[in-house]
């Protein structure tokens, strides 16, 4: 009896999510019927959602490396740059179609990541962080220097791919790029999800928790640590290739040091060792500047002149209030079932005549106003089997 309920709920959640991602975000502003609804997404919002999808890809990769495998990287901007430049050069100088560049950029960057991962084996903690930071700092200089390949400081202009002929008239450019980024982000999420739940992912976590114990269990530490770097770089490379399609331009300035630091911030704020966290972190990173707009409407002075103050303060607040990031916070919220709140909600629902399927029949709350539920109501356990909250 329990199974179908959960499955139905999950199905409903997925259906809602799919509706939101595939219909509401891209189309709500062009369909006239949605006029009165408050939550509409103009084409700027669609672009923002595209950005979130791109950030999510690289955050997923970095989370595999830092969150699951425990290796800090402050150099992911370099990997994104490799992916971006691979795609841009293939498209601009060699006339490749856009879709072919994405996997090639991914594998190219993965190889680079592997090569970086080998020396990284000897380093831990701050030493690894600074060594990878060195990679991020050097990248723009190297890109500027070898201009025969990279076109130097003027960068490379690439035409964003137009919607395919089949979808002509259905999707405009912005929507098409959104779908492109979204679908790739979903594919990468599924890949990350599967890696995490596989033998490889468990090896990553075991190495993070104790290298010696992992070795004792027969895990080849060097093999999996370099593999983590390669996989993580693969994600970053794919992100770089998508970046080129969406922005249509790469230059050495696109990949400065702050970018790399921001990737790490995104992952930590979202939640280390969490797939959901990577996505939430990406969303938060893109959407936090919106707070400034809100504050600006309230005529608070700091909003316009010093947006970074708001950004910095929100970083600190999130870290103080949510030690395990946004994902950890949501996880705690879902486990939080204050019986009183829940019970009063049920009482209220029953008073207004809704039939509520509850874990326990509503007890008499003194007032006697709440009618006892009919006998035939099924009473399953709470789905998560949390014994602490179902004891009342």
């Amino acid at each position: 009896m329990l199974r179908p309920i959960i499955a139905r709920r999950k199905l409903l959640a997925f259906a809602l999510l799919a509706f939101f991602l595939f219909y509401w975000i891209p189309f709500s502003h062009v369909f006239p019927g949605w006029g009165p609804f408050p939550l509409q997404f103009g084409s700027y919002r669609v672009f923002q959602a595209t950005t979130i999808a791109m950030w999510a890809i690289v955050a997923l990769g970095l989370n595999l490396l830092t969150g699951y495998n425990g290796q800090i990287s402050l150099g992911h901007g370099a990997f994104v740059a490799v992916g971006g430049y691979t795609a841009a050069i293939l498209m601009f100088d060699h006339g490749w179609p856009f879709w072919a560049t994405i996997p090639v950029a991914g594998f190219m960057t993965g190889t680079v990541g592997f090569l970086v991962g080998v020396p990284a084996l000897r380093l831990t903690g701050p030493y690894l962080a600074i060594a990878t930071l060195a990679l991020a700092i050097s990248t723009p200089q190297i890109l500027l220097k070898y201009e025969g390949l990279t076109h130097g400081s003027q960068g490379i202009n690439v035409n964003s791919p137009p919607p395919p002929a089949v979808l002509d008239g259905v999707l405009n450019q912005t929507q098409w790029l959104y779908f492109l980024a979204l679908v790739i982000a979903i594919i990468m999420t599924i890949i990350a999800w599967n890696i995490v739940r596989s033998r490889v992912g468990r090896a990553f976590v075991a190495i993070r928790d104790s290298e010696i114990a992992a070795q004792a269990m027969g895990i080849s530490v060097p093999r999996f640590k370099t593999m983590a770097f390669a996989i993580s770089a693969f994600f970053a490379g794919v992100c770089g290739a998508v970046y080129v399609q969406v922005i249509g331009f790469v230059s050495p300035r696109s990949f400065d040091v702050l970018q790399s630091i921001n990737y790490l911030t995104t992952v930590v704020v979202g939640g280390l060792a969490s797939i959901l966290g990577s996505i939430l972190g990406a969303a938060a990173f893109v959407l936090v500047p919106e707070i400034n707009g809100l504050l600006d409407q309230l005529h608070l002075p700091a909003a316009n002149q010093a947006p970074g103050v708001i950004y910095g303060a929100s970083l600190i607040l999130v870290m103080i209030l949510m030690p395990y990031g946004l994902a950890g916070f949501i996880h705690r919220l879902t486990r939080l079932q204050p019986p009183l709140v829940r019970q009063s909600l049920i009482d209220f629902a029953q008073q207004i005549g809704l039939r509520v399927r509850t874990a326990r029949s509503a007890p008499d709350r003194g007032s006697g106003a709440a009618p006892t539920p009919p006998k035939d109501v099924r009473t399953p356990r709470p789905p998560d089997g949390d014994k602490g909250s179902s004891s009342s």
């Binding site: 830092t66 800090i72 020396p119 000897r122 380093l123 831990t124 903690g125 701050p126 030493y127 962080a129 600074i130 060594a131 930071l133 060195a134 700092i137 050097s138 200089q141 190297i142 500027l144 220097k145 070898y146 010696i212 114990a213 040091v257 630091i261 790490l264 911030t265 930590v268 704020v269 280390l272 700091a302 002149q305 010093a306 947006p307 970074g308 103050v309 950004y311 910095g312 303060a313 929100s314 970083l315 600190i316 870290m319 103080i320 030690p323």
Partner: protein
């Protein structure tokens, strides 16, 4: 040869500043394992404070312009207070959390200081005065001009930087080795639990560590400001070099930070000088890649000694 010595001298001067900021980073790292990304911005902020005192426009009020060294001393007090307050208000709530969490908090501080400075003082670079002349028994210290030391000359400002850096390092050495508080700080860095059992107030020691670190950073900021012009992003490059210097020397070794800073300063200058077309006849490398070259050197050193030149290898208990 003259050019070589000249570049070494300049390298020593900039290297001293890298060393100072690296020292500030190491002071925090070895007691709390936290890399403070806000170190450079804190130094920049305090340097702006000093500039206000010297310039005579304090937060929009007109005050009597102060002499350089008086402003210097007041700024040190301000920096120490700021460091202590930051530890108490911002870092204390996340104490004991995962290291990365705290690192992100310092990144938040980085953003706040950078933007507050831009907001308050604007992005236009300001000239920060070099320390003025002092006459001691007929010999002129500091000020403009340069000192002739045989085959080469060294500008008084470079000399000031070196003297101040050496002075700070000696003072810190004496403080750590010969004072009870210094002993308590070393004890806390090594083993906080044991230190607490010995009756040391670990919380206060951590606050003091941040205060000291902010103070050392402020000195670095005021020394480099005349060279790079006072502006909000001025410490960005210095901070990266300081990180590299700290790592090169070993994150838990204060002397290592100094040696790392000096080495980095010299390497940077020499690479910048001797890789021009004139000396190096290749087109795949040039002086614009001196930062990359310095970083390659560091990574190579790390590959041979993974905990830096002077860092201790952490023993792992299974």
């Amino acid at each position: 040869m003259e050019l070589f010595l000249q570049q070494v001298m300049t390298g020593l001067a900039t290297g001293s500043v890298y060393g100072l900021v690296a020292l500030a980073i190491v002071l925090i790292y070895r007691s709390t394992d936290v890399i403070n990304f806000a170190q450079g911005e804190m130094a920049m902020f305090t340097t702006f404070f000093a500039w206000m005192l010297i310039d005579g426009s304090f937060l929009g009020f007109h005050i009597h312009p102060l002499h350089f060294w008086i402003a210097f001393a007041l700024t040190l007090v301000f920096a120490a207070t700021m460091g202590a307050l930051l530890e108490r208000i911002v870092i204390r709530p996340v104490e004991g959390r995962p290291i990365l969490t705290i690192v992100i908090v310092t990144l938040g501080l980085f953003s706040i200081f950078n933007n507050l400075a831009t907001w308050s003082w604007g992005g236009i670079p300001k000239a920060f005065p070099a320390p003025p002349e002092i006459h001691v028994t007929g010999i002129t210290f500091f000020g403009d001009g340069a000192l002739d030391i045989g085959p080469t000359v060294i500008s008084y400002h470079d000399l000031t930087i070196m003297v101040v850096a050496v002075g700070i390092m000696l003072a810190l050495y004496v403080f750590f080795q010969y004072t009870p508080i210094g002993l308590a700080m070393r004890g806390t860095a090594q083993n906080p639990v044991a230190a607490r059992l010995m009756g040391i107030h670990v919380g206060n020691i951590l606050t003091l560590g941040w205060a000291l670190s902010a103070l050392v950073g402020a000195v670095g900021g005021m020394m480099i400001a005349p060279l790079v012009l006072l502006q909000p992003p001025m410490m960005m490059g210095v901070l990266l070099y300081a990180f590299a210097a700290a790592v090169l020397g070993g994150m838990d070794s204060p002397p290592g930070a100094v040696v790392g800073g000096l080495t980095l300063g010299i390497v940077e200058n020499l690479v910048g000088t001797y890789t021009t077309e004139e000396y190096l006849h290749v087109d795949w490398f040039g002086p614009e890649m001196k930062l990359t070259a310095a970083l390659v050197v560091i990574v190579l050193v790390l590959l041979i000694r993974p905990t830096g030149l002077f860092g201790r290898r952490a023993l792992r208990r299974v």
